[in-house]
Symmetry: C2
Subunit: 695 residues, 2 copies
């Protein structure tokens, strides 16, 4: 569908210019320099030719068919030009020009204008306010972009919201000596979205891995769906900037569309199995490993080193990345003894020492390749001036050909020396990802291993509980909507919870002291009495909660006292509830996210949420495995198992509750916010003892 | 004192070799290639010349004076050669040979042998099992090393325990295009220590900043003293590897001396104001900024960018590094309006947009230079193909000359294009630190700012409390030593605490139920009774603690019950203590560290220490500001101030207690372990309610 964009057979450049330092000139020269295989038609009202090519005064005058137009003209002329594109039968347009929605109302109006004409004529729009695309396929060689990095063909495709960051990534890949397949930076992204591009990359046979940079998503749900589809086929490495409040502000100022620190993007990455990075350099270096190496079957890495300290650093970083540097089997050590020098350390890391040659490296590589307890190989290779480094490189490359285990190499050398450049070339041409320091190399292997773990996980499907009374819950919410209430009454909240099978501490509503005492008699003592009044939000702070009431007299006295003290707030109702001391306080909450659905939160209550902010989020619907993961990823997770000989809490009860909450949210998307704070968890049961729903 | 090592006027190479791939040949060629200014004397028993130089059969035959010897011969010959060095009047020897203490007992014996001869003759030893040194000073040009990176003269000096990591750092600095001053990698470091080298660098006029890599210190106290002296004069950037258990194991296997994850090294860095890094690449990139830029007066950074996304990433990273990206003053924005293009964003980041030229960059730079609310300048400079990038670079360099504020530049370009290489050269020659991506650049500025904060802090001197009874405490400990006890009795522990003015909950010892009741009467009820018996370590677990006893009868009954139940453990004593419920539980502890002194620990007690490991350490003696910092750097710090309307705890009481503990540890170095767990803290007082001392 995006073929006209990524594989255009002919390109018109509207706004082609004879001025060297102008975009309309740079783009044509880039197409020429990069060796574009199709036809280029400069469009310029006056110049007879641009960059040695015949220019046309209008699109209309172009003799042949055109797939793609670059539009590089003042924004006010863009709508008409888009219409002209449509009339000419052009299928896609890259609008490089700025001056649209990123520049306020007038620009937004212009954008709306050209978009409606584009839709009318079936022209797909890329941009505006964007760089463009690159396709390195030797059959296409389309450099529809004004940047300055000319990628070799390769297997990594890049999509970047920001052209500046796209350039950083493209250049970093080039500096690492690895090629690229497709590149796209779509600026305001008013039509062709990142989701669509990612889907296209997913289907592209030449793309082995995808790098993505964004500052958020206009339509996060659409991206989630696209990403889920694509990650099933190939890895996506992604980075989201605007992680701090000030960063998000900077992002909003240059995109004009997104604002606020959103955690949803990171959660989308997590849910769809996208590898998330916070450093663009680390992301591109990881991509180099993905470009040539297989995914390790597990976390156990064998290290070969001809230098001590870098192996220590690598071990630190590998372990921090969740890898393990296990002991080698006795058999492997026995085999190593035959190939290694006497001063070698036959452990893991295997220190072959600086005087090791190709035979010693090969011996160690063969052992790791065959050792069942090892899933990947990390090499520290310092080019000792007293070793035949070419031969070592050749042995590494040989083993890489045989190997189903990924090999990553920290290649320590001085590339200003010709001899070592040759060694490097042997490694690179042999598909060995080479890094300039141990931490970088270790993190790249860490990324491969993390992806291996992601591929193995099974989040399952959301469980659908059949024992829920969805109609009842819906009718309560709809009644509140009709009444114009945004915060539901406590009784309504508990009724909804019960309709979804969410366990609630025994409760009853009451309008009078007598009703409260009757409810307490029914529930059984001790009880809690809470005031229930739309005007009272923080009822604890106002003395609207009384706990551990042990008989009917205490309940009556409490209600009467609250009536006299709090009556001035409005009509008071009361909630009587079973008092459940001694459990572990938990909190489950949810908030609706624009265009995405709900985020479900879980954590320990009280000071853990208030002081430590020790909570974890998932995007609804939350599956069983996701809910279980929530329980293990909070920092205070050991408290759920009980400490100092306490019994732990009913974990499956919590997992069940979280999934029922998720189903409730999916069924009732009008819920804006919900929380259950606290939930009391015991060894064999959990109960929501306070809840709030805002619609 | 190390002049013979770093500025040798003549060098003998014992083990000089005619074989190209041997260390004894590489070192001579390196000296020649690098242009060593002094005399080189190869020593070889048979060859008449090595690398075109006349060779001598023995040191004795060398006609002139020699300052420094390289020793590259089998380890068993080293002791005699060291003695020969001494007889020849050689002042220092670099022993490259391996085969000493890193290879077990026999090697250790050889090392002891040559060391004693070296001491006898006054020869200082560098190594063994090491690379060597480099001095880039044009008057010296000593490349006493077998590596392959030839540094230009510069202002960064490097000392690395591991030669491999030293090479990584040296090469990274060369790749960044910055020079080096001195380099040293001293392997087993049996004589000349890292402390001594750091002190030498501290005094070296040409060294502006120091990079240090280690895996621990043989004598951490000596290093602490040296580092404190040097950081007062110039920045030390340091990295310690072996941070994980597996990393520490790898370190111990290659150095043969250090083992176990030690946190002491990081604490030494912190106490002495060393900038600590966990990534060698980041450390070298930071050094580039230190080499030419001043230290910012504060944390407020102004960003100039000609590309959107990289400014978002930079902002994220800068903020994460503790920097602030504040709003600009109205006056500055007014001034910007005059110099900037209409589409520029006049905020912070200042987006001058990609079409900006030198005038726009200069306008923005001038504003940030004069803006009082800005301490440093961060530039994102992408080489847009439609801008005069040379002119932009010249303007940045011009402003850098005027500026007392540091400038760091994220220079985004393609250096395979000649034009952009020129732009880069203008920036580099103008002293602008240039980075290839926004995160790297931002972290380098972050390091400058962090150093600025370190320079400003005042840890003060340890307070000496005059109201302590040191003699009493010492006599108790010495008595226990004489008795062969390693764990002090509870009464002794409390007496020591009281001797140091550490508040202890009212207490009394008792051997019988009657004595316990009498003590309780004296202390006042409620009380706690604890069994006190050397054979019972975990008294709580064994039911040896009873709390909240409200009268003498309860005390008597408890003691009698414990006597009958626990009597079989041995002779039982009892400790009666005031019961103090309702405070905040804290923990203070200490452990003795080999060759360093004590580490003092502080944290919240109970689950905070057990589950969250939320504790902080300092090296004794702990000053007042350090103790205060301990209170603010635990993750649960807000709990000390009280939450949900609670009153906070007596912070100065805790600070006082920590300092008194520190003084106690300093006075009684034989204490191996001590803890006060819990300490109960209230709004206006703190009390140790349980304590343990092991000597």
């Amino acid at each position: 569908m995006l073929d006209a964009l990524f594989e255009p057979r002919a390109i018109a450049v509207v706004g082609a210019s004879t001025k060297e330092l102008s975009i309309g000139n740079v783009i044509i020269r880039n197409l020429q320099t990069y060796g574009y295989r199709g036809k280029i038609y400069p469009v310029n009202p006056t110049a007879p030719e641009v960059c040695g090519l015949k220019a046309y005064r209008t699109l209309d005058e172009i003799p042949g068919e055109v797939d793609l137009a670059h539009i590089i003209i003042p924004s006010r002329f863009v709508p008409q030009t888009v219409e002209d594109c449509g009339r000419k039968g052009i299928k896609a347009a890259i609008i490089n020009s700025a001056g649209f929605c990123e520049l306020g109302e007038e620009g937004a109006r212009l954008q709306e204008d050209f978009l409606s004409r584009a839709r009318e004529f079936g022209v797909r729009i890329f941009g505006p306010n964007c760089q463009g695309i690159i396709n390195s396929d030797p059959a296409v060689r389309a450099y529809c972009n004004f940047t300055y990095t000319y990628p070799d063909p390769g297997h990594i495709s890049v999509v970047a919201l920001s052209g500046g960051v796209g350039s950083v990534i493209m250049q970093a890949l080039a500096d690492l000596g690895i090629g690229q397949r497709l590149y796209a930076s779509n600026g305001n992204a008013c039509d062709i979205s990142m989701s669509e591009i990612v889907r296209y990359y997913g289907k592209d046979q030449g793309t082995k891995a995808i790098i993505l940079y964004t500052e958020g998503f206009a339509n996060p749900r659409a991206f989630l769906e696209a990403a889920r589809e694509v990650t099933a086929k190939k890895p996506i490495l992604a980075m989201k900037a605007g992680r701090t409040e000030q960063g998000a502000k900077a992002a909003s100022s240059h995109t004009g569309s997104l604002a606020g620190v959103d955690i949803a993007t990171e959660l989308i990455f997590e849910k769809t199995g996208i590898l998330s990075f916070t450093d663009e350099g680390e992301m591109t270096r990881a991509a180099m490993a993905f470009a040539t190496q297989p995914i390790p079957a597990g976390n156990r890495v064998g290290i070969i080193t001809n230098t001590g300290g870098p192996a220590v650093i690598a071990t630190d970083v590998l372990v921090a990345c969740g890898l393990d540097v296990p002991k080698l089997s006795e058999r492997s050590i026995e085999r190593l003894r035959k190939s290694q020098l006497p001063e070698a350390a036959l452990e893991n890391p295997i220190d072959v020492v600086a005087t090791a040659g190709g035979a010693q490296f090969r011996g160690a590589l063969d052992v790791l390749l065959e050792e069942e307890g090892i899933d990947s190989i990390f090499i520290n290779f310092v080019t000792a001036p007293f070793a035949d480094t070419h031969e070592i490189a050749r042995q590494i490359v040989e083993v890489n050909k045989l190997s189903g285990k990924p090999i990553v190499c920290n290649f320590l050398t001085n590339l200003s020396l010709e001899g070592f450049r040759i060694t490097m070339r042997i490694l690179k041409e042999g598909g060995i990802p080479c890094y300039a320091n141990p931490s970088d190399a270790a993190r790249a292997l860490g990324a491969l291993a993390k992806y291996g773990r992601l591929k193995k996980r099974d989040l399952g499907l959301p469980e659908i509980f059949a024992d829920v009374d969805a109609a009842k819950a819906r009718s309560i919410v709809e009644k509140a909507q009709r009444a114009g209430s945004s915060v539901l009454a406590a009784a309504d909240v508990y009724t909804i919870f019960e309709a979804y099978g969410i366990p609630v501490a025994g409760w009853g509503g009451a309008a009078t002291a007598a009703e409260a005492a009757a409810a307490a008699d029914r529930i059984g003592y001790p009880v809690v009495v809470k005031v229930d009044c739309a005007q009272i939000d923080h009822k604890s702070d106002l003395g609207g909660v009384a706990v551990n009431l042990k008989d009917a007299a205490a309940v009556r006295a409490t209600v009467e006292e609250m009536q006299s003290r709090l009556g001035s707030f409005g009509r008071l109702n009361f909630l009587v509830q079973k008092f459940l001391p001694g459990g572990r306080e938990l909190i489950v909450g949810a908030t609706a996210q624009r265009e995405l659905g709900h985020l479900v939160m879980f954590g320990l209550g009280g000071i853990y949420v208030e002081v430590l902010k020790d909570v974890v989020f998932k995007i609804a619907p939350v599956t069983g495995p996701e809910a279980r993961e929530m329980l293990t990823t909070i920092k205070t997770a050991p408290l759920l198992d009980g400490i100092r000989g306490e019994t732990g809490v009913d974990r499956e009860g919590i997992v069940n509750l979280v999934q029922r909450v998720s189903q409730l949210l999916t069924d009732l998307p009008m819920i804006q916010e919900m929380d259950m704070n606290p939930i009391m968890a015991f060894a064999d049961c959990v109960y929501a003892v306070d809840g709030r729903i805002r619609i």
